[in-house]
Symmetry: C2
Subunit: 346 residues, 2 copies
């Protein structure tokens, strides 16, 4: 009997630590067959897993006095989970048949997983690679669409500033904004990432690690000011970006990679909110999940398919092969060492 490889949280990750050692890859369990399935459950052969920044919160030590408002934490000793895709290998559900392609927002990081019907979305059988549903059609791209198009309300000729522009979300935002005739200014953390963002069509790209005075660099790259700032990093970069906003600018708050897992006592916090009041700025938080099943999802899938077909949507994937690679993949993402959307193929 082969073992059911599982990525298990061994210990919580202290502030500032991005180590694969928080996880173990466990082989002690057998692959389940159809027998343990209850009515309505299916066995999924996991195919690809999305590695995402917010998972850093889930592996942080729980607060000493947790409340119902405390952020979720993965339980110790159990497989972690997240967005993933796979194929139904056995079914006691009337809705899912063997061979169906499925996506789950709570896919356990293991080779085979038992899931209920309500945890699964059926995917179209014909379209492209299954892993595209955690890639170019996945959460990160949908988040970019919601942020740039829905919350950003872009108008041709405006300027958008995009943080983490080479990342999973940022690269899509750059191309969606260019397709709408915006001046696009990206920020990225290495010279090769800067080159990549330029190759996606950005008009200017700032290496925020080497540019020196970030405010001066933004002013130079966006001489007419910023109409949309798309923030995935939080902290000091967000705070600095606020200084260059135009009147009626939109800020989209979508992630805070720079502060996840960081020591709260060492964070400076955002100081420049008072300066944007007179500018009548709106800041909108975007979280993709409640937008699934809306017209916005339909519009997103259609636009992405069209751009992909026209060769106008590059989507760089940082693909790691095998669940054995998962702990290092997580550590790399949290340390900003990925380049493109990080995916683990199971």
């Amino acid at each position: 009997m082969s073992s059911n490889t599982r990525v298990v949280l061994r210990e919580y990750a202290p502030e500032g630590v991005h180590s694969p050692d928080c996880f173990t890859v466990d082989h002690s369990q057998p692959i389940p067959d159809i027998k343990p399935l209850a009515k309505g459950q299916v066995l999924v052969h996991v195919s690809a897993l999305s590695v995402d920044p917010h998972q850093r919160i889930f592996i942080s030590p729980p607060p000493e006095k947790p409340t119902i408002k405390s952020a979720f934490r993965y339980p110790l000793g159990q497989p972690i989970f997240g967005i993933g895709v796979g194929t139904v290998a056995a079914s006691k559900s009337t809705e899912f048949a063997v061979g169906d392609k499925v996506r789950s927002e709570g896919m356990p990081w293991q080779a085979y997983a038992i899931l209920g019907e309500d945890q699964l979305i059926k995917l179209p059988a014909s379209e492209g690679a299954l892993s595209d549903h955690v890639g170019v059609y996945g959460m990160a791209a949908f988040t970019a669409y919601l942020s740039t198009v829905y919350a950003g309300k872009p108008k041709e000729g405006e300027t958008i500033l995009i943080s983490a522009a080479s990342g999973a979300v940022g690269q899509v935002a750059v191309q969606l904004a260019k397709a709408r005739g915006l001046r696009v200014v990206g920020m990225a953390g290495s010279d090769d990432k800067v080159e990549h963002v330029k190759s996606l069509g950005a008009d200017a790209v700032i290496n925020y690690k080497t540019c020196g005075d970030l405010n001066a660099a933004i002013v130079e790259a966006a001489p007419e000011g910023i109409d949309i700032y798309f923030d995935n990093v939080g902290g000091e970069i967000l705070d600095t970006a606020l200084l260059s906003l135009n009147s009626l600018a939109r800020v989209v708050l979508c992630g805070s990679m720079s502060t996840y897992g960081a020591a709260q006592s060492k964070l400076r916090g955002v100081l420049n909110l008072p300066s944007i009041i007179v500018k009548q700025v709106t800041l909108q938080c975007i979280y993709y999940l409640p937008h699934y099943g809306t017209q916005r999802e339909t519009d997103f899938l259609q636009e992405m398919a069209r751009l992909v077909e026209q060769g106008k949507m590059q989507f760089r994937v940082d693909e790691r092969i095998g669940l054995e690679s998962a702990p290092q993949a997580l550590a790399d993402l949290f340390a900003g060492k990925n380049f493109g959307k990080l995916i683990v193929k199971a």
Copy 2:
């Protein structure tokens, strides 16, 4: 010839200093007559001046390297200015006649002022006291309306948290929210202010200076969480309020009294923005000026007149008599020592 009393900025106010000594009351100039008026100008006999928190920014020392994005500063040695009302005493304008009641957003703090047509709004002759236009129908009340009704999008049964609830803006927000069937939680900084806010109809009021753990106090006062947070203070109170927001909550950013004139190096900054992303919160900055002349102003004036007539709108004014009292009035506002809307009667 009588002198034209003027409130002049003598020196910029260092961080953390709220002193009347930054100003001098000057009597060296004569009251102008009609002769110096150019075509289109009018001489206004100033009647009442609005004392407002954002004026603290205008008297802060200018940055060492000012840019076009730097906040405005009053020039030294000149009368300060702000929102005020008065009566036309002489006119070389075809639009304004002697005796007309006028409001200006740039009214000099002096007994008589020469202003251009484009700096003045004509007020209806019949309605109530002239000073009501810097009071119950003035900027602070309009700001409360825009924040609570327009940006807040209140729904009956929701909970609103209002900072500086005994202040000029907050007291109106409390009553507008109660009129819409919301649970209203106020915050204020002294026991008599707390009692005043309760007398306006608030369901719970927190004395943020004596409550100890502010987060715990908010949780207790708003057990079902916060749907609208109306912020006039910024800083740590804003940061703490973010922790209790419900999904799809609206935050209205309208002022930042706690940080105006404070030492930037001593400010902690807002740390809790990452926690609201998954809650899909929207933060909207409200600045009243561009909303004048819109349907929202009409709606505001109608609702306020109706509530005043019905005895459902108390508007506490902290009135100081004479331009000689202006320096102390400004210092009191910046130190939070006013109680209600601060107005200087000229």
